[in-house]
Every structure is written in C-alpha cells, then in structure tokens.
C-alpha cells in the first residue's frame, strides 16, 4: 500500500467526514420550537384533476397567508388517484416534517392526528353545518380529527346522444331500466364501462350503492356482525353478472381508475360511474364530445337510491412541532373568505360538505354538474352502516366487496363469491 501516502489517506478521511456532515445538513431536517413562529407550514394534498384548484391555492391562498402572517406555506402535491393515504401513512409513521393536509383514508391513522374539534365545530357553525354522513368519518368518539371539506362526487357519466338514439330521453331511474338501456346500447356498439377492478373509487362508487339499494349490507351498524350473506346481496350479485354480460365492455372488470376516463373519451363506452373529470376533460380537449356528455344519479333499487362518498377532509398531524401554527392556518383556510373561492376555482369538483354552499351560484354555471350536489343527500361512507374504522378501510383496500362482484361477472357462482367474500370479512373482523 505504498502508493497511498499518509497525506492522501488523511485527505480521504477529511473528505469523508465533510461529506457525512454535508449529508446531515442537506437532509431537510427542520428544527423548530413551539414558542417561535415557524418559517413555513407544509400542507400536503393529492393533486386535483382540475388544475385551477391547485393554481388558486398556489397563486392566491399561499401569498395571502404569507402577507397576513409572514409564514410561508409549502404546498406538497401527491399524484392523484387515491395514493395520498400511502404517503400519509409514511408521514405518520416516520413523523416526517409535514404539518397538515388532506387526510385521505384517515381511519387508518386517526391516532396520528390532532384533535381539532374546536376548528371543525366553528367552521360548521359559521357555514351552515355539515351533511350528516361525513361527520361519521371526521368525528370519532366525540372528537373531530378532521375538518370536512368536500366530496369528489361519483355518479353516472353518460353519452346523451347515444342514449337518445337508443330511445332513452332521460337517464334511467331504476337499475332495471339501466340494464334495459345497456342491452340496447351494447347492441348498438356502445357498451357501458362499469369499473370492477382494483381501483380506488370508480368501482365502489356504483357497486356499493347497488348493493345497498337492493337491501344488502356488508357489516352491521355495530361494526361486528357480518351481514353480507343475504338474499338481497345475492340479487345484487346476479344483477351485476347480467349487467356485465349483456351491457358492458369486457375489459371493465379489470379496470383501474383512469381506465374508464380513457375509454369514455375515446368513444369506447356510453356510460360509466365517475367524478366530474370526464366532462371537464372533454370540454377542454374534445369540445364536440363535451356537448353530448351528461350526468345522472345512480339508479334506484328496491330499497332506494344510494351514492358513496369519496371524502376529502383536512387534518393536522399530531407530530407537528407547532400545533398552534397549524391550527391557525387550517382555521384561516376554512374561513368563508378563503374556502368559498377555493371551492369555486374547481367548479365545485369538491362538492362542499358545508350546507352553506347548497345555494351557491357556482352550481348554476354548469347545470350538468348539479347531480354531484344532489347526490350528497343520498350518499354514505363506504363503510356504511358500520363505523368508519380501520377494519372498514381494510375491506376497501383488499377489494373484498369489489372482487365479489368481479368474480361473479367472470363466471363464478353467486353462492361461492358471497362465501369467499364473507371469509375475507371474517379475516378482518374476526
């Protein structure tokens, strides 16, 4: 080792030490004390399909807050599509330097969130109160762990021109009429595309309402009794099998969430269950198609009409070094002066859970968006009627109910798919 002189070795060691120190400083560690005003607050959110929504936050809300308080807001955007909760789980577990945000699937990590009852109650009182269904998510054991913001509504997006050609002047009101229309449309070369794959929202948003509207339920209100195995569930399963075979495009049984948007916008399907994003994209990029797209509520079943909530709520991570600073920001953000225009910037893509916006003039600008407001009256959490706890989240994340329908659609007998789903539920609920 004569070629390595002593000085070279010492130089190497010095370089290593300097490198290690540099890495520590550059790692983004942010010391703070609760007594000092923070330089910035980090707010995390899934990016919106409506780009104006994020733009409004960046260009209007952030500068306004900085001007009023001197505190900078760092807006951390996670890719859309139901993946924000994974990031949030990592934030909670690693106590990463993120203060607040959209607490997607908060049932997984409520214990990692701050009690913000004072903010949630003040915001509700100030702006007409909340739709009751959402409080079952945000309020847990008498305390609020999130402030309800808005619902990414899910209802039926359909091609009005093709439905009219098939003889349907208005969107089918019952599931039977929906099947009848689907048969005719598929024969005309315009099948439905009803998602049944391992996505996040577009599958549950019609399968659960369909189950509920037939009288079926997954787990009872007590959060213990598995109630899925019933004649009502069997009817819903049989219906989906027929609908898939006679009215749907084959591919939809494996679709992830972006797939139905793609199929709809490329003329492959005549109807799907989705958020406003199809119409918004069409109006922007395919104006001719944008003129013939419309929305309808989920059809009714023997037990009524249902929708499922895709909840957007904001919360504060318990590990934030400045709880008071984060509280101040969230209260400020949800005040009418800020939140009203933020809702409007996205054309009510997030339908407000606050009753005070029921008559907001923004709803009149595009009448085709109104079903997304109306559905709030009949919308339930995906756990309904069971409590929205971690186990309910596991049912969704393991696609237990979605797969029950998907297996039936691809030929497995009704009894078998229900028995397999019940076995899956027992593994979760014990």
């Amino acid at each position: 080792m004569d070629d390595l002189s002593g000085s070279t070795r010492r130089g190497f060691l010095k370089l290593s030490a300097a490198g290690a120190a540099g890495a520590t400083i550059g790692a983004g560690w942010r010391p703070r004390t609760a007594s000092a005003k923070p330089e910035k607050i980090t707010f995390i959110r899934e990016s919106s399909y409506v780009k104006e929504f994020d733009e409004h936050f960046n260009k209007v809300l952030i500068p306004r807050y900085q001007q009023e308080t001197g505190i900078k807001i760092s807006y951390e955007i996670v890719a859309a599509g139901g993946t924000a909760h994974v990031r949030n789980v990592a934030i909670v577990e690693s106590k990463a330097p993120v203060d607040a945000g959209w607490v997607q699937q908060e049932w997984l990590y409520r214990e990692g969130l701050l009690d913000i009852s004072d903010i949630a109650e003040a915001v509700g009182k100030e702006q007409g109160g909340y739709y009751p269904a959402i409080t079952e998510l945000s309020k847990w054991n008498g305390k609020w762990y999130s402030v309800p913001f808005g619902n990414i509504g899910q209802c039926m997006a359909f091609r009005r021109d093709w439905f009219e050609q098939a003889g349907f002047k208005k969107f089918p009101d019952t599931w039977d009429e929906f099947l009848d229309a689907g048969r005719k449309l598929k024969k005309a070369g315009h099948p439905y595309g009803m998602s049944m794959g391992h996505g996040f929202a577009d599958n549950n948003s019609w399968l659960l309402p369909l189950l509920w509207s037939h009288g079926g339920q997954v787990v009872a209100k007590d959060g213990k009794t598995i109630t899925l195995d019933s004649a009502e569930t069997a009817k819903a399963v049989d219906y989906v099998r027929t609908l898939y075979k006679e009215a749907c495009i084959d591919d939809c049984v494996g679709w992830l969430d972006p797939a139905n948007n793609k199929a709809f916008l490329t003329d492959q399907i005549s109807c799907t269950n989705n958020a406003m994003s199809i119409l918004i994209s069409a109006k922007r990029d395919l104006p001719e198609m944008g003129k013939v797209i419309d929305h309808g509520l989920n059809p009714k079943g023997p037990k009524g009409r249902f929708h499922s909530l895709v909840a957007v709520t904001h919360g504060i991570f318990k590990h934030t070094p400045d709880p008071e600073a984060a509280r101040h920001f969230l209260r400020w953000l949800m005040a009418p002066k800020q939140v009203a225009d933020w809702y409007r910037s996205a054309q009510m893509y997030h339908a407000p859970y606050l009753r005070g916006y029921d008559k907001d003039p923004e709803w009149n600008k595009e009448p085709r968006f109104k079903p997304y407001h109306e559905l709030l009256e009949t919308a339930k959490l995906v756990s309904w009627p069971a409590p929205a706890d971690r186990r309910a989240g596991e049912v969704v994340s393991k696609w237990v109910v979605v797969d029950m329908f998907a297996k039936a659609a691809t030929g497995t007998p009704t009894k078998t798919v229900i028995a397999e789903a019940v076995a899956g539920l027992k593994a979760i609920y014990g």
Binding site: V86, V89, E111, H198, D251, G254, R390, S397
Partner: protein, 300 residues
C-alpha cells in the same frame, strides 16, 4: 525491559488492520442502516399486531396463522410462483436466443445491442404505462392489429387485462419483455468467453451446429446461465411495480402477487405486522431456491 513506543495517531492509522476497517465502516454502516435495520425491524413486526400510529402488541405466530387461513394470501402465493416460473423460463429461452443472434457478425451490431437493452433501462412504471395503452381493448396496438388483420371482429377482440387468465398472461409478457435483455446481454458476455478454437476443432472433427451448441456452448455457458437465472428469480419473485401499475392485482385477485398483497395489507389495510409477515413469507421460498441453485453451481 524496553518502554513501549509512544502512541502516534498517524502510525496507528497507517496500520493495514486499522485502515481497512476505516474504509469498510462507511459502507457497513450504510448497509446496516438501510438493509439490516429495516430487515430486522420487519422481522420484529411479523410477531406483533401493529396498526398504524398505534403501539405494538405481541401476537407470536398469530400473523402467520392469519395468513395461513387467508385464501387471498394463498392465491397470491400461487400467482407468484406461476408468474415467476413462467416468466423466468421465457426469459431464459428468449435470452439465450437473443444472445446467440447478437453473437453473430452483422451490420449495426453495436446499435442493435444498445437498443435491445432499452426495456431494461426504461423505468418500469413508464414502460408499464405504455403497455397499458398497448393492451387497451379498443385502440391498443394488439387489438387494432388483430382487427386490421381480420383475425377478430371488434366485438371478439380479447380483453387483455379484463379476462383473469389473459391478465396473468399479460403481466408475464411484460415482465418477460422487460427482463429479456438482462438474460441476453449476460449470456452474450458468457458466449464471448468461449474460445473459438474449441468450435474450430469440433468443426474439423465433423460436429454439426447443433452438436457444437449441445456439447460446447451450453456446458460452458451453464455457470453464467445459473447465476443469471438465480438473479432473475429473485427480482421476478419480488416484482411489485409492474403489477401495481398494470392491474393492481386484479381482476378479482387474478394477478395479485405476494409483494402487492403485502403492500395492500400494510399500506391499504394499515396492518404493519400482518403485512410484514406476508412479505417475510417470501424469504423461505426464495431461500430454498437460492440454496438449490448455489449447490448446483458448486457441483458443476
């Protein structure tokens, strides 16, 4: 009695035993921090019930017992074995063929070799999104080609990701496409080490092309093939991105692998202990394969 020489830091650092440890320590610490610690922590998690943001409760082998009785887990195990087995065989056969072709002399050989590496170089998520478009039922490359060639009508066009069997075929196809260059280039490197004289001698002795391949090329390539196959089994067994992006494990769990299922239990279901147990369950299977392969390599 002689007094011990005074301690000099410079001389102490000059000693081989000290300096070698100084060099070894940073990578060792790195490995402990980013591999050793997560593995040990994961191992610990398998014995506890650990919902997110909640304290752990010791459950012994309870998590493994739960998995043992979980039909989705067993479906994922079967899928993983099928996925790994078929994809590895296809990659091996294709890679061997690719290497034999690339070993020939032809124009633009260098560029061709570079281009064939692309599937391996392009980020998996990016190429998988492209495959999603290729598999599209209405406007994807496959179905458009089948319809344009008159082999199927639009109504008969297969649903690549919607049919449970075809969905598995599709993920295997994409994995094979992505992993083929790894086999091809590595086996090509092995081919280039085989002395030309052996082939010349065999040709003079009247050996046919097949005979030379069977008795010279293949035996001399065997160590390379075994090593590349072992690596491929490990990578394929742990594959996550491809299935996560292409099918999410659907339809109806038809393509759920152990890695995607472990992820859905941990990050979707919030059960870190159970998810870790599902992930750790991959280790004994892989360990068995590795022991078998390495003992074969030693014998040959």
């Amino acid at each position: 009695m002689l007094a011990p020489p005074p301690f000099r830091l410079r001389e102490w650092l000059e000693r081989e035993s000290v300096f070698s440890w100084l060099l070894l320590t940073p990578p060792l610490l790195f490995l402990i921090a980013f591999l050793g610690y997560p593995f040990c922590y994961g191992f610990y998690l398998t014995f506890v019930s650990r919902p997110i943001a909640q304290p752990a409760t010791f459950v012994g082998l309870g998590n493994f017992e739960k998995l043992w009785n979980d039909p989705i887990f067993w479906k994922a195990v079967r899928n993983t074995i099928e996925f790994t087995g078929i994809a590895t065989v296809l990659k091996l056969a294709g890679g061997l063929g690719m290497a034999l072709v690339l070993h020939q002399n032809f124009r633009m050989k260098g560029i061709t070799r570079a281009v064939l590496l692309l599937p391996f170089i392009v980020p998996t998520v990016l190429s998988t999104v492209a495959w999603q478009w290729i598999f599209d039922p209405g406007m994807g490359l496959f179905n458009r080609s089948l319809i344009n060639m008159g082999l199927v009508t639009k109504a008969q066009a297969p649903s690549w990701l919607g049919n449970p069997t075809l969905a598995m075929v599709s993920v295997i196809l994409v994995n094979t496409w992505r992993g083929l260059p790894f086999f091809g280039i590595t086996i090509l490197a092995g081919l280039q080490t085989i002395p030309v004289e052996l082939h010349e001698t065999a040709t003079i002795d009247g050996a046919t092309t097949w005979g030379r391949f069977r008795h010279i090329t293949l035996p001399l390539l065997m160590p390379v093939i075994l090593i590349v196959t072992t690596f491929s089994i490990i990578i394929t067994f742990f594959d996550f991105q491809l299935v996560y992006v292409l099918t999410g494990g659907g339809p109806a769990n038809a393509t759920h692998l152990m890695a995607t299922y472990a992820y859905s239990i941990s990050m979707g279901g919030g059960q870190l202990g159970l998810g870790s147990a599902a992930a750790l369950a991959m280790v004994p299977v892989l360990g068995g394969v590795l022991i078998l392969m390495s003992s074969y390599v030693r014998r040959t």
